[in-house]
């Protein structure tokens, strides 16, 4: 049993490594294609994309992944990586804009059509994204799900996919790096962001007091504090980018001084 589970994980690890490599190659290829047609795609974005993919990789393969099963503090570190840091890095690398630029005009129009659809509007709305993101975490840590996912491999994969996807959706719905068809106002997004941040902190304290079954008290306390303060650290970057975008959009209109510009 032990051996069987191990080899299963190894095969999965190989699959993940392949996926990661593919993600990097596709992104880099798209940036070359786009660079030939338009302006050069910024190098820092490629860098952010690679870092984001590596952050996911660190959660899925290697020592962090294997220790997360038995150590709740490591699990929480992984949660920050896959649910917050990787999404933030990847949103900042602006993959949708790159996709639109590197596709042919006809295909880009189709993608733009999808982006404008009602489904994308609904899913990408800050409130939907916040519920999927923070709500998903509440389900994970306050029900038996955390306990169960360590017994069922498929569930484990699904939960981690959800952590990443919901984190990405939420980050993208708060800071508009990529083109967004249906924009929501700054104040609206600020309120959703503060509420979601509050929910995250609240959940951290609940875990401190009442950790999932089978989690040691000491690990639950260390893990929940990591979730609380680590979440703050990553959210600070999100808040800075958000406020910066607000700052730029609220810049005073240039008025012509008496006697014209000098």
């Amino acid at each position: 049993m032990e051996h069987g589970l191990h080899s299963e994980v190894t095969a999965a690890e190989f699959g993940v490594a392949l996926l990661m490599l593919t993600a990097i190659v596709i992104y880099m290829n798209a940036s070359v294609v786009s660079g030939k047609r338009n302006r050069k795609w910024p190098l820092y974005r490629i860098f952010l994309w690679i870092l984001g993919v590596l952050a996911i990789g660190a959660v899925c393969i290697g020592p962090l992944a294997s220790r997360a099963h038995s150590d709740f503090t490591v699990h929480m570190f992984n949660h920050l990586l896959i649910g917050m840091l990787a999404p933030l890095l990847m949103v900042l690398s602006s993959p949708v804009a790159l996709l639109l630029r590197s596709l042919s005009v006809a295909s880009a129009r189709k993608v733009a059509g999808i982006l404008k659809s009602r489904l994308v509007y609904f899913m990408g709305h800050p409130i939907t994204a916040a519920i999927l993101n923070t709500g998903g975490l509440f389900v994970l840590y306050t029900t038996d799900l955390y306990f169960l996912m360590h017994d069922y491999f498929l569930l484990y994969v699904l939960v981690h996919f959800h952590l990443f996807a919901a984190g990405y959706l939420f980050t993208a719905s708060i800071i508009y790096i990529d083109p967004v068809a249906h924009r929501v106002g700054f104040l609206y997004r600020a309120i959703v962001l503060v509420t979601a941040l509050a929910g995250h902190g609240l959940l951290a304290k609940l875990i401190y007091a009442d950790p999932p079954e089978t989690v040691l008290k000491s690990q639950a306390e260390a893990g929940s504090m990591l979730m609380y303060y680590g979440g703050d650290a990553i959210d600070a970057v999100l808040i800075i980018v958000f406020c910066y975008q607000w700052f730029i959009s609220a810049r005073p209109r240039q008025t012509v001084p008496e006697g014209g510009f000098k």
Binding site: L197, A198, G201, K205, A236, W246, R251, T255
Partner: protein
């Protein structure tokens, strides 16, 4: 927008201050809230270990209030600095009014923390296993002093002083 001499600059700044008086106030208040929350977190939680992360005797509504307040003050710290930059960009920064807001915000946080969060919602106490009364009294008196300083500064900057010579 292009000022040619100091007199004109002061004139423009004076006009803009009046226009953005409220924004000066809010930038100060939000920064004050954030600053107080930051000092509370680093000094009393992390350095002195007087406060607890969570002391298990907190009501649910206390936890929710704490979570919202923490998130809001974290956001306010950063947002207030962008507001500050915005005032500088518009040449409308008014130090005295901003400081008035700062003291007011810090005092308001301190008083709210010391009365509602500590006593009413019983989130946590200032210290544990000691006679709490002197701590509570000192905490809230400091809060009142900060509020009064803020109040005086805000009162004094409620309108612009008459300018002479510009």
């Amino acid at each position: 927008m292009v000022a040619t001499n100091d007199g004109a600059k002061a004139y423009v700044n004076g006009k803009n201050r009046k226009l953005y008086s409220t924004r000066n106030l809010w930038s100060g208040v939000l920064f004050g809230l954030g600053l107080a929350a930051f000092v509370d977190e680093t000094v009393f939680h992390q350095l002195l270990h007087w406060h607890h992360f969570y002391d298990q005797s907190t009501s649910n509504i206390g936890l929710v209030s704490d979570g919202l307040f923490h998130a809001f003050s974290w956001f306010a710290t950063i947002a207030s600095l962008f507001l500050f930059a915005d005032l500088r960009r518009r040449d409308a920064f008014w130090l005295k009014r901003w400081l008035g807001g700062l003291f007011f915000g810090t005092g308001a946080f301190q008083l709210y923390d010391g009365t509602i969060q500590h006593k009413l919602l019983r989130l946590h106490q200032i210290r544990y296993n000691v006679d709490i009364l002197p701590y509570d009294v000192a905490w809230n008196i400091i809060a009142l002093i900060l509020l009064i300083i803020g109040g005086i500064l805000l009162w004094k900057t409620r309108k612009l002083p008459e300018r002479t010579g510009s």
